[in-house]
Amino acid sequence: MTAPRNDILQGTLALLILQTLSARGPLHGYALTQQIQRGSAELLRVEEGSVYPALHRMAQAGWIKGKWGMTERNRPARVYVLTALGAAQLEVERENWARLTRGVNRVLRLA
């Protein structure tokens, strides 16, 4: 089987989800995917299915909480909210990302 294109790093996906939930408030999985794609001006294309395992992992880590609700088209969906723990994690992830990009940029400039 072929590797999916536009695949993004696992950790980055968590950062994107945390950031989106923090900025937009409670969202269900589909809306979350839409927001990430739209927010990145379609530059980042998440393989949509991979959002759900990430959501489960994050829910078990206690960063987000899922509650059953409905979509605008009346489909059952779990609506995810950022927890206090998740808000703290968002800061950690942001800091990590900043460090990573700083490092990568420096290498790009010097090499």
Binding site: G29, E48, G49, Y52, H56, R75, P76
Partner: protein
């Protein structure tokens, strides 16, 4: 997610999976709607939504693997699925679980014996520090009391030193004996081992004063059985060989002496031996060897340092204890005696020495049996895997990870193995007790702690896991390599050739292993049969033995001979007695008496070459036992009464020591201190009779009249050949003995029983070897049958075609049987090689056959070929019933 959710998830893994399904469906629905709204056709939109989502099944499975909890969930799901699958094929499951239960059970049973008898450390404090004292060689570890006292008085360099020796106490005052197993112990015995009383007190090193008051410390079991419980035991009095002795304590039940397998009822202080035994030799005899000595070195003292210290001690220890009555050469070699120590964390055990090789052989046999059972199950699983190939292909095609499929299949086989192991352990607990019963003899009760401990349990879990993986891995590996496309295309008939090849390899291995086991069984059965049917030189059946202990009567030497001769006369008058006699010992009784003989004209190669065994007998002994008189005359009543210095020798002694000339009228002497015994006149020659072991040829043996050569102890055995049932005879003899003196104690047995007790080990090996051999044969037969039946089913259309082209039924049958024969033949050839290599382990346990006995090997090979033919017969017959037309239409 709260912890409650996690627990509920753990219990109901479908919930997580169902939730995820709902979310995914919602996502796909929303995406499709959006795409349709953007102008796509509903069909294309659905496809695009799926494409963007990625592999749905795979997402679900990776969501499952979120963490350990989720992993447990998936294991639980696998287990539940496995239970369902196995329940769907009860026949397969029953066969697999049963053969595993047998295999695991047999392994656990034998291993729990191996553990209890050879592996386990003694239940004492720091068993790893215990050192067994020996005379330079580990097996040469018995000492006299003077030697022990000499060592004890010079043991300041050690933390502790203690000695102990086996004893048997008669608890009855006259009449039938009532033996308790005893242990004579030095004062420091219990403290050195860290053994505490559960009631009363135990002796200490400070109690170790010659002539101390006799005291008894009893085992908890004995207190329970004989003294009305632990609480009331202390202060009671027990009669030890007629001496009233006070019970001062009850020993911790976890401890039962240092000799694994020997039960100890009563511990008595060594220093009181003088008051308990009429034999002064127990304490002062410089050639009465019966004590084991153990040391505990000071902390940090390594074995070489201990041995260096012992080497320094040895000359003084031996110099102060030289037996004065030994000949000069004997005294000289005594002074060269050595002392050394061997680590002995598991104590010293006759049972262990006796059974170590046998247990090793049994362990190998049951291990091989388990492998054979595994091969059968692997074969069954392979057949199932072929049938389930489509299922696997479908699951792969819809996105199941290969890893998960392998895990699923391994879960199934481990579940099988686990169930088999649980049943096996139950079976083993029963079987190991049965085996223990096998080891016990009339006067040697074997007691071993068989409770299942961590090591035995670990062993069982390990073999269950290894077998589960062993027979599960192959089908699982095969399933993981399934190529979904070709598997789906080809439908049901895939990879038949591959499975057939693997199946054949497995069956060939089975046949080879089975042959090796059958050969072993044949050898063990053959030796036992030879032992049972050999002519020992006496008639083993129909003879009642009464061991008469005159010690409490105080009768000694010639007075004892006179009294016992009168008793013999009275016994001969009893109705039903066809002949009766007295003797110092009887054939195959434990123990014996040997001495060096000096014969004018006989030049022995070495000291050992001049050894002969002896017995003292009354008139009628040879007649009663059925040993033929070959030349000269029998011992007469007058020889006994007149204390004549005469001797009847056996054939071997006559041939070996007197050469071709007639020994009648010639004499020999035995050493008595530095001089010699009075000359013994040879008056007759009798046939050879086995002496103390059935497995050894009759040694040169001399029979003196009762009383000649001195009676070491005041015990004689009465042999009675009778036409009446023994029960009545026992009553009459008891009555006659009591009328002679009420203090005489009696122990009854039969010569047949005595001989049979000496065959415990060969009997056990023959019974188990035969049973396991048969089981192996049966398993191999099932394996071969399964493979051939499968073979015929697979080749139905080919067989149909051949028949359509004119092949006769006989020819078809021959093809199938020929195929089976090829497998069996290869297996047999491999098996013979295996047997020739493996049965060497058996060599020390065989009697009358060699480990590579041609007859046994060939017989076993023929047996396997016949078994193979039987196993192939049904599938071959089925092959001839194939209807060509129908087979071709299906194919």
């Amino acid at each position: 997610m709260s912890w409650i959710d996690r627990v509920t998830n753990l219990l109901r893994p479908e919930r997580l999976s169902r939730d995820l399904d709902v979310e995914i469906d919602t996502h796909l629905g929303e995406r499709t709607d959006d795409l349709v709204a953007a102008g796509m056709s509903p069909l294309a939109a659905r496809a695009e939504a799926r494409r963007r989502f990625g592999n749905r099944g795979r997402k679900k499975e990776s969501a499952h693997d979120v963490d350990t909890l989720a992993w447990l969930e998936s294991v639980a799901a696998d287990l539940r699925y496995a239970v369902r699958t196995l329940r769907n094929s009860p026949g397969f499951t029953a066969v697999a679980v049963l053969s595993l239960a047998l295999g695991v059970g047999a392994n656990t049973a034998i291993f729990s014996l191996v553990d209890a008898i050879t592996l386990r450390s003694l239940p004492v404090s720091h068993p790893e520090q215990l050192l067994q004292l020996d005379q330079g060689k580990p097996n040469n570890n018995v000492f006299t009391n003077p030697l022990w006292e000499a060592v004890r008085d010079r043991s300041a360099g050690f933390t502790s030193a203690f000695a102990y020796g086996d004893e048997q106490f008669n608890l009855a005052n006259g009449g039938a004996v009532d033996f308790a197993q005893g242990l004579m112990v030095s004062g420091g015995f219990f403290d050195a081992l860290g053994v505490r009383p559960i009631a009363g007190r135990l002796t200490h090193a400070s109690d170790d004063v010659r002539g101390c008051t006799p005291m008894a410390m009893v085992s908890a079991g004995f207190a329970e059985r004989r003294l009305g419980g632990t609480a009331g035991a202390v202060g009671r009095t027990v009669a030890l060989d007629g001496h009233p002795v006070e019970v001062i304590g009850v020993v911790d039940p976890r401890f039962s002496g240092l000799d694994v397998g020997r039960r100890v009822d009563i511990y008595a202080p060594l220093c009181a031996y003088g008051a308990l035994s009429s034999d002064p030799g127990m304490l002062d005899g410089r050639s009465t060897w019966y004590l084991n000595i153990m040391l505990r070195p000071n902390a940090g003292m390594a074995l070489p340092a201990v041995n260096a210290q012992l080497a320094q001690l040895a000359p003084i220890v031996y110099r102060t204890t030289v037996p004065g009555d030994w000949a000069a050469t004997g005294r000289h070699s005594y002074l060269q005696g050595k002392l050394s120590a061997t680590p002995s964390p598991a104590g010293v055990s006759d049972l262990r020495d006796n059974y170590r090789a046998a247990l090793t052989v049994l362990m190998i046999v049951v291990g091989a049996l388990l492998l054979i059972a595994c091969a059968n199950i692997a074969n069954l699983l392979l057949a199932r895997a072929t049938a389930r190939q489509r299922e696997m292909a479908i699951r792969l095609a819809i996105g199941a990870a290969r890893r998960r499929l392998v895990r699923q299949l391994l879960t199934e086989s481990l579940l099988l193995a686990g169930t088999g192991a649980v049943i096996g352990v139950i079976f083993a607990r029963w079987a190991s007790r049965l085996l223990m019963g096998f080891l016990s003899t009339q006067d040697q009760p074997v007691a071993v702690d068989l409770s299942i401990n961590a090591r035995v349990l670990g062993f069982t879990i390990a073999i269950a896991t290894v077998t589960g993986v062993l027979f599960g891995l192959l089908p699982a590996w095969r399933a993981a390599r399934t190529d979904p496309q070709s598997a789906m295309k080809a439908g049901g008939a895939v990879r038949g050739a591959m499975r057939r090849g693997l199946g054949r390899v497995l069956v060939t291995g089975q046949v080879a292993l089975s042959l090796a086991l059958v050969v072993s069984a044949g050898l063990l059965l053959g030796s036992f049969e030879r032992l049972v049917t050999l002519d020992p030189g006496f008639q083993r059946d129909g003879i009642l033995l009464t061991v008469l202990d005159f010690t409490p009567t105080g009768l000694k030497d010639h007075a004892l001979v006179t009294v016992s001769a009168q008793l013999l006369q009275q016994v001969r008058q009893l109705p039903g007695v066809s002949s009766a006699s007295l003797s110092w010992t009887t054939p195959i009784a434990r123990g014996g008496w040997n001495d060096f003989v000096r014969i004018p004209g006989y030049r022995p190669v070495d000291m050992r070459d001049s050894l002969a065994n002896f017995n003292q007998v009354s008139d009628g002994y040879f007649h009663t036992l059925g040993t033929p008189l070959l030349a000269g005359r029998d011992i007469s009543g007058d020889d006994v009464a007149g204390n004549r210095s005469v001797v009847v020798i056996n054939r071997t002694m006559a041939m070996k020591m007197f050469g071709s000339a007639s020994p009648l009228g010639r004499t020999f002497t035995t050493p008595a201190g530095d001089s010699a015994s009075p000359p013994r006149d040879v008056i007759g020659v009798v046939g050879d009779a086995k002496y103390s072991r059935l497995t050894q040829p009759a040694p040169p043996t001399g029979y003196f009249p009762v009383g000649i050569g001195g009676l070491g102890n005041s015990t004689l055995t009465l042999e009675v050949r009778s036409t009446r049932p023994f029960a009545g005879m026992i009553r009459d003899i008891t009555r006659l003995a009591a009328s002679t003196s009420p203090a005489i104690t009696l122990r009854f047995t039969t010569l047949a029983q005595q001989v049979s007790d000496s065959l415990t080990r060969p009997r056990l090996l023959a019974a188990l070897g035969g049973f396991f051999g048969l089981l192996a044969l049966l398993l191999a037969m099932i394996g071969l049958y399964g493979t051939m039946a499968y073979h015929v089913t697979r080749r139905r259309s080919e067989i149909g075609l051949r028949m359509a082209l004119g092949a006769g039924r006989l020819r078809v049958m021959r093809t199938v049987v020929g195929e089976a024969n090829r497998i069996v033949l290869i297996g047999v050839v491999l098996g013979i090689a295996l047997a020739l290599m493996g049965t060497r382990v058996l060599a020390s346990l065989l009697y009358g056959v060699t480990a590579t006995d041609t007859g046994t090997v060939l017989g076993s090979a023929v047996l396997l070929l016949i078994t193979g033919a039987i196993a192939a017969a049904i599938p071959a017959w089925r092959a001839t019933r194939v209807d060509p037309v129908q087979a071709l239409r299906e194919g």
